[in-house]
């Protein structure tokens, strides 16, 4: 349906835009940038920071450009004297209640308020300092997220993120007037409340009020410690986005440069989480087929379907809080990060003749929930904490800068072996639908002996940015040992972002959808939109990252997890077969119910 066109003028330049367009959007089309703080492309409009105010001819009030739709004949001025004075006042006011100790701030150089302040040359502070001393006490109770109220400008982007994208509302606006702030239930520490540690709030915080708990110094110390053998694993989505923090355009893959930089930083071995992503497919795919067999052949009423993926620690904690009655649906597979840690400190340590206690496993993750995950008591199957430190993509970029590495000029390097080989199926773990696609590539082939019937192995129906996707794969002409699957329609569903996951769970719980297998990723877009990825994020940025990740897949010589030679090797030498006793000991886990409210 075509919408009416509305004619207006912005800074005397005529433009016609669709009805319902905001002044902000219309101005952008004319290449006038109006500054914003509370506005975010992923969130509903708030219109509360007022930084985007503009003058509309004939109106008594300035209009918030983000929240005001255009109207016929409107004449807008984005930089009139009134606008400039007001905007400067507003930035000054925000600074007056902001702990503007920028040089000591983790977000120094990456702060939208700092940018605005510098843009408007806010020099001498006109207004009184309103920062409350008690607000400077940071909440560092969570292993993932640090909350610093003294940096908060009350734009409520985090609150909307947590409610609208994630359906969790760990954070809310509390109190009113001069006591208004962003807080948790009864102002409890972050680790005590219903929070999934997804870190989407961090990705959208314009200042340093919400940041990841950073472990950069710990990792440097490990690297400097001659008694430690430090190995690093890199998650699929990191190689897609790391460049964004190092001056490389969005969507440009930096796999080889990343490996190179990690070697330069001094890691003893640079290995790949993609290897354990392939291992996950072997375990999880087998688990799915086993569950299907128990359901279809053994008519075992205790078997729980649909099976749900367990790679995303934000999703896992969400499920533990919100759907603790459905924990049996979750695959018992550990996430690739944790499989890696467990394998590194056993199989790999033996192979390279290093004692597990001397090994430090560092992960580079697009995720802050992984920081929580590695500290879970269940994740010590090697006899030690399987993964010692988790750094976000952003933290790695900081380390690279600290080391003075000219990232752009780096030669490309290859992952070390073993635990460095991977397939295209593994790398797409980073995109929503990717685990599903990887699992289908392998499971279909195991069952039928043929490749999945999609051009170039690209299973398009499970790709894309819709919040919930579903697809049906018809299984035909199976191998004799899989005859019970002959003619079966395999129903699968995929959700990303926890608000979507919630919708899907409700459908499943009500029995409205008979799925066999469900993939859920806690973050919008999957890991490539993870809470540890470079800031900013937007649908457009995630789209570019997605395109890049699928290109990475296509460029890989091996596209299917079960064809990864190192995976074949580890089963032969160490694990035996998927779901073996050893696999269960090292690669599988269990979940625990947590409080719902």
């Amino acid at each position: 349906m075509s919408k009416y066109l509305v004619n207006l003028k912005i800074n005397n330049m005529p433009i016609a835009v669709e009805e319902g367009t905001t002044i902000l959007e219309a101005a952008k089309k004319l290449n006038f940038r109006i500054p914003t703080l509370c506005n975010h492309p992923d969130l509903t409009v708030a219109g509360n920071c007022r930084v985007c105010v503009v003058e509309v001819k004939g109106a008594r009030l300035l209009a918030a450009a983000c929240a005001t739709p255009v109207s016929e004949g409107m004449e807008v001025f984005t930089n009139s004297e009134k606008v400039r004075v007001s905007r400067k006042h507003i930035v000054e006011l925000l600074l007056s209640e902001h702990n503007a100790d920028c040089t000591k701030c983790f977000k120094n150089g990456h702060c939208e308020l700092q940018d605005l302040s510098s843009e408007y040359r806010i020099g001498d502070h006109v207004f009184l300092d309103l920062v409350r001393p008690e607000s400077k006490i940071q909440d560092i109770s969570s292993p993932s997220i640090v909350k610093d109220d003294s940096k908060c400008i009350r734009c409520q982007r985090c609150v909307r993120t947590c409610a609208e994208l994630q359906g969790v509302s760990a954070l809310a606006v509390v109190n009113k007037g001069d006591h208004q702030k962003i807080s948790t239930f009864l102002n409890k520490p972050m680790h005590e409340v219903v929070c999934t540690n997804c870190g989407q709030c961090i990705n959208r915080c314009p200042t340093g009020a919400l940041t990841e708990r950073n472990y950069i110094e710990e990792v440097w110390n490990a690297l400097y410690d001659p008694s430690k053998f430090v190995v690093v694993q890199t998650a699929p989505a990191t190689r897609i986005a790391l460049g964004e923090d190092l001056g490389i355009p969005v969507g440009e893959r930096v796999t080889g440069k990343m490996v190179s930089s990690l070697k330069k930083l001094g890691f003893n071995k640079v290995l790949d989480t993609d290897f354990t992503a392939d291992l996950t497919i072997m375990e999880e795919g087998t688990e799915l087929l086993t569950r299907l067999k128990r359901a279809l052949v053994d008519k075992d009423e205790k078997v729980v379907l649909p099976m749900m993926t367990s790679c995303s620690p934000g999703w896992i904690k969400f499920q533990e809080h919100m759907y603790s009655d459905m924990l049996e649906n979750l695959s018992t597979c550990k996430s690739p990060q944790q499989m890696f840690g467990a394998v590194a400190k056993t199989y790999y340590a033996d192979k390279i003749n290093i004692k597990a206690q001397d090994m430090i496993v560092v992960s580079i993750m697009p995720c802050v929930a992984k920081k929580f995950e590695c500290e879970r008591p269940e994740m010590r199957d090697s006899g030690y904490q399987d993964v010692d430190y988790v750094l976000t993509t952003r933290e790695l970029a900081m380390m690279i800068k600290q080391a003075g590495i000219d990232f752009n000029k780096l030669e490309e390097a290859h992952y070390d072996s073993i635990l460095g080989e991977s397939s295209g199926a593994a790398v797409i773990f980073g995109a929503t639908g990717g685990v599903m696609e990887a699992a289908l590539r392998t499971a279909y082939e195991i069952v039928t002996g043929r490749e999945v019937p999609f051009t170039n192995l690209n299973i398009q129906p499970v790709r894309g940015m819709e919040g919930i996707k579903d697809a049906t794969i018809k299984i035909k002409n199976v191998k004799p040992e899989w005859s019970f699957l002959e003619g079966v329609d395999l129903h699968v569903a995929i959700a990303h972002g926890l608000a979507n996951a919630r919708q899907l769970m409700e459908k499943v719980r009500k029995g409205e959808a008979a799925y066999h297998f469900i993939e859920v990723m806690g973050c919008p877009g999957g890991c490539l939109g993870g809470g540890g990825q470079p800031i900013p994020t937007s649908p457009e940025i995630r789209k570019k990252r997605t395109e890049a990740i699928y290109q990475e897949d296509e460029d890989m010589p091996i596209r299917k997890s079960h064809e990864n030679p190192e995976v074949v090797e580890i089963y032969k030498e160490f694990l035996g077969e998927p779901l073996s006793h050893k696999s269960h000991d090292l690669l599988h886990t269990h979940y625990k119910p947590r409080k719902r409210y």
């Binding site: 760990a170 239930f185 009864l186 409340v193 409210y597």
Partner: protein, 156 residues
């Protein structure tokens, strides 16, 4: 007396299981229990299927929806300009001395909490105070004392 859980269930039953019922439900709890305890807030979250932080965030917006323990009788002396002009300070001081608590505090026997409030809408008859829902205009320190004494006698 009902348990908190039963009270919340009853209020939700009466007002409906939707977000629009949140205010009357919270108001009903305060009516009975004088404040919103952690237990009460969690019960409301559960019954209305809202996040606990969301319920708390909403409650904390409203002056009358206290989330810290309050006495059985909550005294709110109007502090806005005309009551100020007509001697609200004397009223507050008198009550504060008599109850041996400062503004914002609750007596040891949990009978009284002394608070100040923004304009109560009795500017022509100040100073004025509310005790729970009842209004007492045209106060003198003596009158205020007598009223509070009456409450002390009838509260157990």
């Amino acid at each position: 007396m009902l348990t908190t859980e039963a009270l919340v269930k009853e209020l939700v039953e009466k007002n409906g299981r939707t977000r629009n019922s949140l205010m009357p439900v919270l108001q009903g709890i305060v009516q009975q229990e004088h404040y919103l305890s952690e237990e009460a807030l969690l019960c409301v979250a559960k019954e209305l299927d809202l996040a606990a932080a969301d319920v708390y965030g909403t409650a904390s917006f409203y002056t009358f929806l206290d989330t810290v323990p309050r006495g059985k009788n909550i005294i709110r002396v109007c502090k806005t300009i005309t009551c100020h002009m007509k001697g609200k300070d004397e009223i507050v001081n008198t009550l504060s001395n008599a109850l041996k608590i400062k503004v914002g505090e609750t007596t040891h026997d949990k009978k009284f909490t002394l608070l100040t409030a923004n304009c109560l809408g009795w500017c022509h008859k100040g100073p004025v105070m509310l005790i729970n829902d009842e209004v007492y205009p045209e106060l003198t320190p003596q009158k205020a004392l007598e009223i509070v004494e009456e409450y002390a006698k009838s509260t157990h």
